[in-house]
């Protein structure tokens, strides 16, 4: 049995890695300028042809965007998995619970006060603001979650908080100048365009650190899955653990919103796909697996966003919603007769 499992996990991880490379190359390959696979490999690995246009396109535009999608996608999916674990609710996630919208709202307000472009704001301020917004909404959700236990009600509360935050954001955008409006509106739908190497570096470091911290909580998390009282009886300090879990989840979601705006449904869809793929919910497997799946999912969605209606571009949120929302509905319906 144990052996079978290890083989399954191994096989799943290897397939994910292969898929990652395929999508990476496919994404670099696709776009208004066609670049052959050989050329890509040469440019990436041997760094040849520095003066060619292809070199600039790959290194300055496509690669940072792709990697940003990979890093943020992983973070988003992991954040969703943490929230589902925390709330014991399969449809919890940063977008559905309104956490992303909260980050968006606070970020929009600060941007307008800063009276500049999102891109022109210092990255650290960006992330910090977004984190503040996330935590603010998280506290609201926690407050209601303590009062109502039902999964559907929690969802409604989250959607309402999300709507209120979006309304406030729209309201604030009225006070912005024209350049800001274009920029904010575009960003508030979620996009990976405009990713740059410096931003990518900051995002990668932040998310890597959070990922490692999350991985270190895998053991108590597995006990937490049996319920708080059992976890406590096994020697876990529940209060501290809950604070750690929720902070990590908010941090991940805040990073994503700060760099790419709110992106819908990845946080719900990906953990479930991953569970089906791996046949387990064990944190020690799920934490890396969900992150990998999230990366692939977002890269694929970004590819679709760029190519579906080329040359014009869809927002990433549109694509993830089309794919993710049906999964949420399926989960809601499927769970009913389990109770």
């Amino acid at each position: 049995m144990e052996k079978k499992r290890i083989i399954r996990y191994g096989a799943a991880f290897i397939s994910l890695a292969v898929l990652f490379v395929i999508i990476l190359i496919a994404s670099i390959n696709t776009g208004s300028v066609h670049i052959s696979v050989m050329e890509i490999i040469n440019i990436l690995l041997k760094r040849t042809g520095e003066e060619a246009a292809a070199y600039s396109i790959i290194w300055k535009i496509r690669l940072p965007r792709l990697l940003m999608a990979a890093v943020l996608g992983g973070a988003l999916a992991l954040s969703g998995y943490l929230m589902q674990t925390f709330f014991r609710n399969p449809i919890a996630g940063p977008y559905v619970l309104g956490i992303s919208s909260g980050a968006k709202m606070v970020l929009a307000v600060v941007t307008i006060i800063w009276s500049g472009h999102i891109a022109s704001m210092p990255v650290s301020l960006n992330v910090l603001t977004s984190f503040a917004g996330s935590m603010l909404c998280m506290l609201f959700v926690l407050f209601f979650a303590g009062k109502v236990k039902s999964m559907a009600t929690l969802l409604v509360v989250g959607v309402m908080i999300g709507n209120i935050c979006s309304a406030v954001t729209d309201f604030m955008i009225n006070f912005a100048n024209e350049a800001q409006i274009v920029n904010l509106t575009h960003w508030s739908l979620g996009t990976f365009s405009g990713a740059s190497w410096p931003n990518l570096k900051v995002a990668s470091v932040l998310i890597l650190v959070t990922f490692i911290l999350t991985f270190l909580t895998a053991k108590p998390m597995s006990a937490y899955q049996l319920g708080e009282d059992y976890a406590k009886s096994m020697g876990i300090n529940i209060k501290i653990f809950r604070i750690i879990l929720i902070t990590l989840a908010s941090m991940l979601s805040a990073c994503v919103t700060a760099f790419a705006g709110p992106i819908a449904f990845v946080g719900i869809a990906v953990p479930h796909i991953t569970k089906l793929l791996f046949g387990t919910a064990k944190p020690i497997v799920m934490i890396p697996a969900v992150t990998m799946c999230g990366s692939i999912f977002c890269m694929a969605c970004d590819l679709i966003a760029r190519t579906a209606l080329a040359p014009s571009e869809l927002s990433i949120g549109t694509v993830t919603s089309v794919i993710g929302a049906p999964i949420v509905i399926w989960l809601m319906v499927g769970r009913k007769h389990e109770r």
Binding site: K219, S222, A223, L226, K232, S233, M234, A281
Partner: protein, 375 residues
Amino acid sequence: MKDNIFLKIDGLAAGYGRKLLIEDISLELEKGQILTLIGPNGSGKSTILKTITRQLKAIDGIVTIDGSDIFRMHSKELARQMSVVLTQRIETELMTCRDVVAMGRYPYTDYFGRLSDEDNRIVESSLKRVHALELADVSFNEISDGQRQRIMLARAICQQPDVMILDEPTSYLDIRHKVILLDILRNMSHEDGITVIMSLHEIDLAGKISDMLMCVDENHTVRLGTAREIFANDTIQKLYGIEGGSYDAVTGGVELAKPCGRPDILVIGGNGSGIPVYRKLQRKGIPFYAGVLYENDIDYRVAKALAADVISQKAFMPVSKDTEEKAYEVLNRVSAVVDCGCEHGEYDRINTELLKEAVRLGKKYNDIGSIERMW
């Protein structure tokens, strides 16, 4: 003081927050003994158990396991000494029963929770202990309530505790699974020397399995004793405040309230033949006399609970004059006598004679149906 005391509770006061619910609980248990808490809902059994497991903060008092104070123990240390089976039902995702049981190794595994060969062996033997080896690779969500409870017990065993706390482990279980579960507990405490503290709703089972019982009543007062002491007289009936109905501590049977009014029927039973008739009359709300029964007759206990009056005779004695007189007096007073069809013999000839007399008076019926038709 006895020197083989393993678990000691001294002056424990429990409650929620600052609100005191129960106080002054003191007791001592030896290794491998079973203490069962009984009492009505809301009396505070769970509060006591939650305090001992540190889910609630104790208001006062100390609890020691093998001499060390559990309220001062590090939670990881306590986890190696005490494991729990709780009432709440857990919801798992993609976990086999083996996975659930293996969670019991939590206090012993390394930083990433990896199971050693030794851990796996203990998981296996815990599963065996609860007769659930064949469930090992089945999803926890697919098994029945009875099986789930056994798996949760295996998880608690797997934690290799010295003390196990169980909060109503038999709720939701059918009688077969109740018996299996308590059997496992008994063996576990005997063979592995695990001291057990639990709460049960089944008073009769509690009396059978426990070394010591703790009654907690509605006013949150606590009484300790062996099953014998607790089941003497009507402690249980008082404990649960059973009004009208009755609880028989010897048989563990519960009877509903006896019909009220002036009885006009005498039921002559014996050797178990009377019980169905008594119950039928009780359901119809017809008061009755039960007669002549030896006090060790199986009918006697039920008759005592349901009949307006029982004409009885002390066991192993010939039927006395007084009893005989009383029987004839009743026979003359009632307008119907029901013959339950018991074969009467040498020692309860009185019943045979009573029935003959009833025939003579035209009062004898063979079942209640015919009496009802008469009326």
